[in-house]
């Protein structure tokens, strides 16, 4: 009989800590037009934004909760404090950031990453940006990297208005509407024509106050021929009250431009992560998604790419690791709406300790997308018999001049592989961890080194047994 | 042998996936001649074969291919096949649901543009299969499905005999075959030349198959160029000393 190494819940002490709540301001729980108006006023929104929020709220109240995917019954919107603002203003230098907040980031290792010559850190503490630093050489190239609130009022206000929630409209789904009503914080990036940003821009978000929802908005515009790598990282302390994250990411990739958007999501395991991400790609442009989902209690996450221009490309590389108490529904969507477009989706998912992972995707090839090519490959690994792994990929092809391939596999770690590694002196636990790391290398290969290391550590932690 | 040129390749430069493989190849084959193209592995021999057939993966950057008096450089594969160029594949396609016999009949009808009488076709096919020592049951088996390596090679030569092209390019037809099979396949090739006055371009890096074929010209290809052309004696020379000398020459 096969003996299994006992795999325990990840040691989250590294990530699960909280500061005393010293919130300068907190909105009352629940969601009404009054709250939204108050929020809008407090944020000094332009008039159009205030109206936008109220319209979105109305849509939110009219739309049903999805009847597919993981249950979100544990979520009670009436009791979620939607907006929390820390008692600090924007700081330009690390030394000016208040000590307790700084400690939090220090434990998360952000300054180290900074020192390793990352372009800038736009770290979001609760709902406001508290620390923001774009390297001078990047700014000198004309690259704009700022928080959304500033962008809404600054030099790029028109550009923001022109693009804000035009790609993800509030009526897309209930949580997009919610986002439209109460969004707060996030980043705005504009890369001008032909500019190639050599070092990745990085942004950390985290939730802090109990019951706080986070609704940050990320808007990135990469102009014609430009090139950018943006890294989004998330981590949040653990609380007993259900937490909601309904962020929104809108990416505009111009003609012949390229954008790589990487995320390692590691929310604490009580989080409802209902995030919406979407990219619009013009002629000859490329969007590359690298997505790791490790945290959260429930996740709905399917970055969507609309290949609008001739020859536009998308690549999606993802990994999802669902452990105890987690139900992670992740995947990708792509719409081919121009000739010669191509998409490539490669995902891995791992389920253990009663965790549920679902790969959900759709590939749509419109009638005019002649010579479109698409390839989807998803592999799932079951680490025990109490977990669950589902694969739900849809394809809708409406032109004969297409080439669409799909392959899916579900299986377990082969006893032979474990036996082989053990015959070379590895413990069973190490052998299994080693095989899982190897299984996940599609993603780790795509990540910057320090992130790949962090991800492998996460996998190791998840795989470690109770012995030793 | 006539003085008329069947194939004339002039200064051919070919890219595969944007990498230049052939760097200016010249080759002339007249009706009825047997040419051998030899050279080390990965030197561009198969690339030349595929380019002559018109495989779209191979891009002609420069030069011209004339066949039977016509510039075919831009012609699609099926038109070249109909004009009389045949290439034997190293790994021919398996097609469940299409029998070997119906596939060949289809090809013959496409070439001639008219229906052929079934009994006549059957008679010819069976004669050719007998020559190749193929069991008659193979005619009704699905094309290449479950065929061994040797059977696939024979099925290719069977098509050669039935299609009677003007130029047959045999790409490593002898590789992986045992002595008996090489002998049978050679007999098939001789039969083709005898009946159809066909020309041959034999691509090989060994010399097994050449023992029973009368060779007119031998070409040595190294790094995408034909660096030496000679008669049958060149085969023996290479048999003895290999390609090492030629490669050295190329690098001088």
């Amino acid at each position: 009989m096969k003996e299994k190494s006992y795999v325990e819940d990840i040691d989250r002490s590294v990530y699960d800590f909280k500061d005393d709540e010293k919130d300068a301001y907190k909105l009352q729980a629940g969601l009404t037009p009054e709250i939204v108006e108050k929020l809008s006023k407090e944020k000094n929104d332009p008039v159009w934004m205030q109206n936008f929020r109220l319209q979105a709220l109305q849509i939110y109240n009219e739309m049903p909760v999805p009847d597919w995917g993981p249950s979100i019954e544990g979520l009670d919107m009436a009791n979620i404090v939607t907006y929390v603002r820390p008692n600090t203003n924007m700081k330009a230098k690390w030394s000016d950031v208040p000590e307790d907040i700084k400690n939090t980031f220090e434990r998360l290792g952000i300054p180290q990453a900074e020192r390793k010559s990352l372009a800038g850190v736009g770290a979001q503490y609760d709902s406001e940006l508290v620390y923001h630093n774009v390297r001078e050489e990047v700014a000198a190239q004309g690259v704009v990297y700022t928080d959304m609130e500033s962008a809404l009022k600054g030099e790029y206000a028109d550009m923001v208005q022109k693009h804000f929630m035009k790609l993800v409209k509030p009526n897309d789904h209930k949580f997009a509407a919610l986002h439209g009503a109460v969004w707060s914080g996030g980043s705005f990036v504009y890369v001008p024509k032909g500019v190639s940003v050599e070092i990745p821009l990085q942004s950390y978000f985290r939730l802090n106050a109990p019951g706080a929802g986070q609704f940050e908005h990320t808007l990135i515009i990469v102009d014609e021929g430009a090139d950018l790598h943006f890294i989004e990282g998330c981590s949040a302390p653990k609380y007993n009250v259900a937490n909601l994250h309904a962020g929104c990411v809108e990416l505009f990739v111009g003609k012949n431009a390229r954008l790589r958007y990487s995320t390692i999501e590691n929310w604490s395991k009580n989080m409802y992560n209902l995030n919406t991400k979407r990219a619009l790609v013009e002629e000859g442009g490329t969007i590359e998604w690298v997505s790791g989902s490790f945290g959260s209690h429930v996740s709905y996450l399917y970055p969507m790419s609309i290949l609008k221009g001739k020859g536009a490309k998308m690549e999606f590389t993802g990994i999802t690791f669902a452990g105890k108490g987690q139900n992670l529904d992740t995947g990708a969507k792509v719409v081919h709406s121009a000739p010669d477009t191509s998409s490539y989706i490669n995902t891995k998912s791992i389920s253990k300790d009663g965790g549920i992972s679902t790969f959900r995707s759709c590939v749509v090839v419109a009638k005019n997308a002649k010579n479109a090519k698409s390839s989807v490959s998803c592999q799932s690994l079951m680490l025990d018999a109490i977990s669950r792994s589902d694969t739900i990929p849809a394809m809708d092809i409406r032109t004969k001049d297409a080439n669409v391939g799909h392959e899916a596999q579900i299986g377990s770690i082969s006893d032979e592989a474990v036996f082989y590694l053990m015959s070379r002196g590895m413990s069973e636990e190490d052998a299994r961890a080693c095989i899982v790391s190897g299984f996940a290398d599609n993603v780790s290969k795509e990540l910057p080194l320090e992130y790949a290391v962090e991800m492998n550590n996460l996998i190791r932690l998840e795989m470690k047994g109770s012995i030793g | 042998m006539s003085e008329k040129e069947l194939l004339n390749v002039k200064d051919l430069v070919v890219d595969v996936e944007e990498k230049e493989i052939l760097h200016g190849v010249n080759l002339t084959i007249r009706p009825g001649e047997t040419h051998v193209l030899m050279g080390p592995n990965g030197t561009g021999k198969s690339t030349l074969g595929y380019t002559l057939l018109g495989n779209p993966r191979y891009t002609v950057k420069q030069g011209e291919i004339r066949f039977d008096g016509k510039n075919i450089t831009a012609e699609p594969v099926n038109e070249r096949a109909k004009a009389g160029i045949f290439l034997s594949f190293q790994n021919p396609l398996e097609v469940p649901g299409v029998t070997l016999s119906s596939f060949i009949r289809n090809a013959v009808e496409q070439k001639t543009g008219k229906r052929i009488r079934l009994w006549e076709f059957k008679k010819q096919l069976e004669a050719a299969m007998e020559l190749l020592d193929m069991d008659k049951s193979y005619a009704e088996r699905d094309l290449n499905v479950g065929f061994s390596g040797g059977e696939k090679k024979k099925a290719e030569i069977l098509q050669l005999l039935m299609l009677k092209p003007k130029l047959a390019i045999l790409d490593e037809t002898d590789s992986g075959l045992d002595v008996d099979a090489v002998r049978t396949v050679s007999a098939g090739i001789r039969e083709y030349q005898k009946n159809s006055e066909g020309s041959l371009l034999v691509i090989t890096h060994s010399t097994k198959i050449l023992e029973s074929l009368p060779v007119d010209y031998t070409h040595v290809m190294v790094e995408g160029k034909i660096i030496k052309t000679g008669g049958a004696e060149l085969v023996d020379e290479i048999n003895e000393s290999g390609f090492a000398g030629y490669e050295a020459e190329e690098h001088r």
Binding site: D67, W68, T391, V404 | -
Partner: protein, 365 residues
């Protein structure tokens, strides 16, 4: 007045985005359906078969058949509510030599029929269902086949569906396999009408096995809506679904294929593969292959290739002088002939071949 009932059939076992319109299919049915025409053709040599028993045991069987779930789903029960099922039973340990053939056609109103196939322990039976265009135009036909394969038994079901234009068909099949039982299903869709096809199999017993081979040609404005659900319940159960076909003109095909490994189905293996050749300018191909898994020690695979003929195939055909159009015709025919050759009954095979020459407009061999 006849009432129209609107039901949802061919539902996915696990839902996804509604805008894809793949979660289920809407199906309209007139409430007053008559029995359809079923002509049974059986060789007299088949002694081992009985049409139905009048025993307590048989009554228990009826209950067992009522419990068989089908691919179209429970909402489709209303379609068959007034129908008395035909019954064929292969007696324990017997292996009738010849297939039992049913010719099924509609009447001049909406009509429905049912066939229950029972293979007792250690028996084997082959059943051929031929759906013909003797059905008058503009009428709906629905047919449900329920199978129970007892321990060590084998059922082979061949369905040739060749209804004419404007003759929609609901073909709804359900199957339960006990220990070591095997069910083979061959489905050939070569008609001119719309077809709604649901097949569900519950592999309950250890080592139960289910094999499906499907071929189709969908053209003009035809719809083919397929829902396969294979539930792996017993240990070491195996399944293999292969669907291969061609869409022309403005044909619309929906393929739902689900392999569901239930907890406890350790050692189970399920494979599904689909190849779709798209030849029409207005075709719609929707494919959703689910693998659901609640067991560690299983192997599930799915592969799909949708689109034009691949480059390798085209090159080989072209190298023999055969152009693209002709190669496509040959491949379309090949996919279908591969299956017609496997039809167990000569008369049905001839019927299928005749039908092929009617629906295939090419001039290949």
């Amino acid at each position: 007045m006849k009432e129209t009932v609107n039901i949802k059939i061919n539902q996915l076992p696990s839902k996804t985005w509604h805008w894809l319109k793949l979660n289920e299919t809407n199906f309209a049915w007139t409430d007053e359906a008559q029995g359809c025409t079923i002509v049974k053709k059986e060789s007299t040599e088949n002694e081992a078969l009985s049409g139905g028993k009048e025993t307590a045991e048989a009554l228990a069987d009826i209950k067992a058949f009522e419990a068989v779930e089908t691919g179209a789903g429970r909402q489709a029960d209303c379609v068959f509510k007034a129908v008395a099922p035909e019954r064929i039973t292969a007696a324990a340990g017997r292996e009738p030599e010849n297939p039992v053939v049913y010719e099924i056609s509609g009447t001049d109103t909406a009509s429905a029929g049912m066939l229950d196939i029972y293979a007792e322990e250690n028996s084997r039976i082959t059943v051929v269902e031929r759906f013909t265009k003797k059905t008058p135009e503009d009428t709906n036909l629905a047919f449900r086949t329920r199978m129970i394969a007892a321990k060590n038994s084998k059922i082979r079901l061949v369905q040739v569906i060749a209804l004419g234009e404007e003759q929609p068909l609901l073909s709804d099949t359900g199957c339960v396999c006990d220990e070591n039982a095997q069910v083979e299903l061959l489905q050939l869709f070569i008609g001119k009408g719309h077809v709604y096809n649901g097949v569900r199999t519950d592999l309950k017993g250890e080592r139960a096995d289910f094999q499906v081979q499907t071929g189709y040609l969908v053209q003009n404005t035809q719809l083919l809506d397929i829902n396969y659900i294979v539930n792996h319940i017993g240990k070491k159960t195996t399944s293999n679904v292969t669907a291969d076909g061609t869409l022309k003109d403005a044909a619309h095909k929906v393929f739902r294929g689900s392999i569901d490994f239930k907890r406890g189905a350790s050692g189970a293996k399920g494979t599904e593969s689909e190849q779709v050749l798209l030849l029409g300018d207005d075709v719609i191909n929707q494919t959703i292959p689910l693998i659901l898994c609640a067991e560690e020690d299983v192997e599930g695979n799915h592969g799909a290739a949708i689109g034009e003929l691949d480059e390798e195939t085209l090159l080989y055909f072209a190298a023999r002088g055969i152009d693209k159009k002709h190669a496509e015709d040959i491949m379309t025919r090949a996919k279908l002939e591969l299956l017609t050759h496997k039809i167990d009954d000569e008369e049905t095979k001839e019927f299928a071949e005749e039908q092929l020459s009617e629906v295939l407009t090419d001039d290949s061999l």
